[in-house]
Symmetry: C2
Subunit: 165 residues, 2 copies
């Protein structure tokens, strides 16, 4: 299957997010992808993102700071929600009108310190998929150890938030 990063299909005028926007050169530019698409049961599909946080995002020396972990979970969650919205409606990623999601609520449990200089893997699963609300459950792992779990309650971005071009 074609498997572009979800965030690379966000409209240009709303691609400035520090966590995942391709138009924010100083940000993390997180990229999320389909890990598995279950054609028989779309809600069982999973998503994945990988990154190595820059060294400056320290908690205490040697460990990634919690705000970075929350940011990655947040952006992987809203990206996954957007991709699932397109998938469940049978639409091409990025086709118009855009379906971009924002975070209504973000819950993160920190299970173990997250080491620096290690590739982090985020895997997203879906526990609720509605037209305007999608819930994504995410694990964040380092060296195959789950360091954090999160849930993102993502809601379809209202048109009023999209800048007029």
């Amino acid at each position: 299957m074609q498997n572009d990063a979800f965030q690379d299909h966000y409209p240009e005028e709303i691609s400035h997010c520090y966590g995942c926007g391709k138009n924010n050169p100083e940000g993390h530019q997180l990229k999320s992808y389909w890990q598995h698409i279950d054609e028989q049961n779309l809600i069982a599909s999973t998503t994945v993102a990988r990154c190595i946080p820059d060294k400056k995002y320290t908690a205490i020396p040697g460990f990634v700071y919690g705000g970075m972990i929350a940011s990655l979970i947040d952006c992987h969650g809203t990206g996954s929600a957007s991709a699932m919205a397109y998938l469940s409606q049978g639409r091409e990623l990025g086709s118009l009108p855009p379906m971009r999601f924002v975070t209504g609520a973000l819950n993160v449990s920190f299970l173990a310190p997250t080491p620096q200089d290690v590739e982090l893997t985020l895997v997203g699963k879906f526990s609720e998929v509605k037209e305007r609300k999608i819930i994504v459950d995410i694990t964040l792992s380092a060296n195959d150890v789950i360091c954090a779990k999160g849930q993102v309650i993502a809601v379809l971005m209202p048109d009023s938030m999209i800048p007029k071009t």
Copy 2:
């Protein structure tokens, strides 16, 4: 009363947090203070922090990104927890051995878009204070409008996480 920033009393070797460490020149360097100390009922004391996020921490143009909001709530929560631990034990901030808190869980509800270029005010209240676990409930406001609410379940940092000098 003397009212130094809580984070300025963190030990030097654990003051590198991107969110609030005075030894991280690239980070947010959030500073938290007592807003009110209730001498009769310490748990009713409140904390405050203020900051204007740098422009690069964009969600979509004009609004602060959720990861920044989560970071501020996280660091204000752990800072408030540390200060409450010292207060409730009648100890001077920063006295040894250190009582630094880490986040066990972070929950954030995004209630309204958070505007950029506006001073954000975080106010912390305490819903549980135990020796090793403190729960801080936080509001984040812009222009007197609450844009996000959060809860930080903070736990005393284990000695094993403190780098040996």
